[in-house]
């Protein structure tokens, strides 16, 4: 349920077709393509909001990649002498009901969240974009059929559909990735379709068609680079949404199974100890909150870079 919303303001834009000429057009819901990735990253780093988002996401990525080096102890190592110990110098975030170090479990929990977030959004982006490209470029029956399929997926509340898919296929991290990818497919498909409808009718695309270039070449080497900007922005926002959905599934016991630590299943455990050990609920929840906040800040920054009038 967490995602930013864009009011979709009209903007005067300049679009540069790859291999084509500059043209200035008034259009709605089409955003400015970046002049270069280096300039984009520099812009993000200088904007305090985006920089904060980059920092938060960066910390999570570092934690996930270097967990064995960062975590103080093995996250699954029980310590029955220090059960439900409060935060202290020896256990910075305290211990849980089996004496396991909470900080170590949170560091390792970043792996599950990022694994699911990256893979599910990447899968949804690739498949959804392909669907949108085909639907927008060919139109007619292809468009009608593919968009009706997307409408059917969209007809289900996303968390409910993800729940149903993991319930049927069985609880695991892989099935969580699949479920979240399926529910996010229509977002990319619709966005890619809308952008393709506009770009595929521009002169430089018609020129490539007239020159005899194949459809795959036109779609992947001409249309796709010109529609990538909004897809990237959407991807950053859906990454946040995917992490939250994964935490929901884990909280309900349908994500990664114990003893694998995930922030969601840590919160699930914490419910039984709210009075005795409230720290079990503070830190995993804060971890989810901070990484999602980082993604939303980054997404807002990307959107503002691409649409200065917003």
């Amino acid at each position: 349920m967490a995602a930013g919303f864009d009011s979709g303001t009209a903007s005067r834009i300049v679009r540069r077709g790859v291999g084509g000429s500059m043209s200035a057009v008034d259009a709605s819901a089409v955003i400015v393509a970046p002049q270069g990735w280096r300039r984009l990253l520099r812009g993000l780093a200088t904007d305090p909001r985006s920089a904060a988002g980059l920092a938060l996401v960066g910390i999570a990525i570092v934690a996930a990649l270097f967990a064995p080096l960062i975590a103080p102890v093995d996250p699954e190592l029980p310590d029955f002498v220090n059960i439900l110990a409060p935060p202290s110098t020896s256990h910075l975030f305290g211990t849980d009901e089996l004496g396991r170090d909470v900080l170590a479990r949170i560091v390792y929990g970043a792996r599950a969240s990022l694994f699911v977030g990256v893979l599910s959004v990447a899968a949804a982006a690739v498949v959804g974009t392909l669907i949108g490209l085909v639907a927008g470029y060919f139109g007619r029956w292809a468009d009608a059929l593919l968009m009706r399929l997307m409408d059917i997926i969209f007809a289900f509340p996303s968390i409910l559909l993800a729940l149903a898919i993991t319930a049927v296929l069985g609880p695991s991290l892989t099935n969580a990735v699949l479920a979240i990818a399926v529910v996010n497919l229509p977002v990319f498909a619709r966005l890619a379709r809308a952008q393709t409808l506009v770009v595929s009718r521009l002169e430089f695309v018609e020129a490539k068609r007239a020159l005899g270039f194949g459809t795959a070449n036109i779609l992947l080497r001409t249309v796709l680079p010109n529609i990538q900007a909004p897809l990237i922005v959407q991807g950053s926002l859906l990454f946040a949404s995917a992490i939250i959905t994964e935490s929901y599934l884990s909280f309900l016991g349908l994500g990664a199974q114990p003893p694998t630590p995930t922030w969601g299943n840590m919160l699930r455990n914490a419910i039984g100890f709210l009075e005795l050990a409230p720290w079990l609920a503070w830190f995993p929840g804060a971890a989810i909150f901070l990484i999602v906040l980082g993604c939303n800040l980054l997404g807002d920054g990307l959107r503002d870079r691409f649409d200065p009038r917003d």
């Binding site: 009011s7 289900f156 729940l163 296929l169 946040a240 914490a270 609920a281 999602v292 917003d310």
Partner: protein
């Protein structure tokens, strides 16, 4: 208007058919025998054979689907594996608490988001704007079940004002019902409020830049009148649209909130059924919830048309 409604309903039919196909397919995705999935491991051979014949499992999938759809349309959603209760009556019984919780969340959201969005828009780039926007962003980023847990820790355990879980029927004890409703409604309404506040702010900013607002100010109208009668009346359309969409999404969000607070709605029923492998209930809950979601979106579209007669739905 009637023609628009009929066209819209007709366009929904393929979606509803698609929902039914997906829901029908769910059970077929469960590893193993779908009859065992529907009756449970404890079922006797006679029941298994009877259901196998009823479901026409020896027939092609298309025949099975139409047999299932026919039963659904006559109100036969099957029987719960746990306890043998009629699934449809279980679902209808759970809809009431879910509807009450959803409406309460919507009220919480409106009370917070509309004033906050207007203040942020009219005092752009001020401390009030930045604060409201940041709080809204935090609201969007916070997982709802964590907010629920924090509220339980603060307002049920540390300072015991509200009960941590449970449900009392409003007819039975209105005061107790209200006390049980507050925390789940705030939990569910907070994320809704955050998104609505951002939409309100963005839309009001657009509207307040419009020529007719400039004209209204030039005529000497009071700022409050300009904002409420000229600004908000034009900004309400995208806000209402967003609320309609969000209300539909609430049907998914209630799953988590009802689980945290043990609120006996359709969300908790679905989760309990999943863990009990009570697939007839899961199937029925998914079908009912998705259908309601589609109908809420239809209602949103129609309200949108009623608010703005310039819009023609095609």
């Amino acid at each position: 208007m009637l023609r628009v409604i009929l066209i819209r309903i007709a366009s929904l039919l393929p979606i509803l058919v698609g929902i039914s196909v997906v829901t029908f397919s769910l059970i077929r995705l469960v590893p193993g025998d779908p009859v065992i999935a529907l009756l449970g491991m404890e079922a006797d051979e006679a029941s298994i054979q009877a259901l196998r014949s009823q479901l026409a499992l020896d027939q092609p999938l298309v025949v099975q689907y139409f047999a299932w759809a026919g039963r659904i349309l006559t109100g036969d959603f099957g029987r719960s594996i746990q306890g043998g209760r009629d699934v449809l009556s279980m679902l209808l019984g759970a809809l009431g608490p879910t509807a009450l919780l959803s409406l309460a969340a919507l009220v919480v959201s409106l009370l917070i988001s509309i004033p906050a969005g207007i203040i942020a828009a009219t005092r752009r780039n001020s401390l009030a704007d930045y604060s409201a926007s940041f709080i809204a962003l935090c609201g969007l980023s916070m997982p709802s079940f964590w907010l629920g847990i924090l509220l339980i820790m603060g307002l049920s355990i540390a300072v015991p004002i509200f009960p941590a879980s449970g449900y009392v029927s409003p007819g039975q004890d209105p005061a107790a019902f209200f006390l049980h409703l507050v925390l789940p409604a705030i939990t569910l309404g907070a994320a809704l409020a955050a998104a609505t506040m951002r939409m309100t702010r963005a839309t009001m900013l657009e509207v307040l830049r419009a020529d007719y607002v400039r004209t209204a100010r030039a005529k000497g109208l009071r700022e409050r009148h300009v904002i409420w009668h000229h600004g908000l009346s034009n900004a309400r359309i995208p806000i209402v649209t967003l609320l309609g969409i969000q209300l539909g999404q609430l049907l998914g969000g209630v799953v988590i909130t009802e689980t945290v607070f043990s609120w006996p709605g359709i969300g908790k029923l679905t989760v309990d059924a999943i863990f009990a492998r009570d697939y007839p209930v899961v199937q029925g809950a998914v079908l009912i919830t998705a259908t309601l979601f589609v109908l809420i979106n239809l209602a949103t579209d129609l309200i949108y048309t009623a608010l703005d007669p310039r819009v023609r739905l095609t």
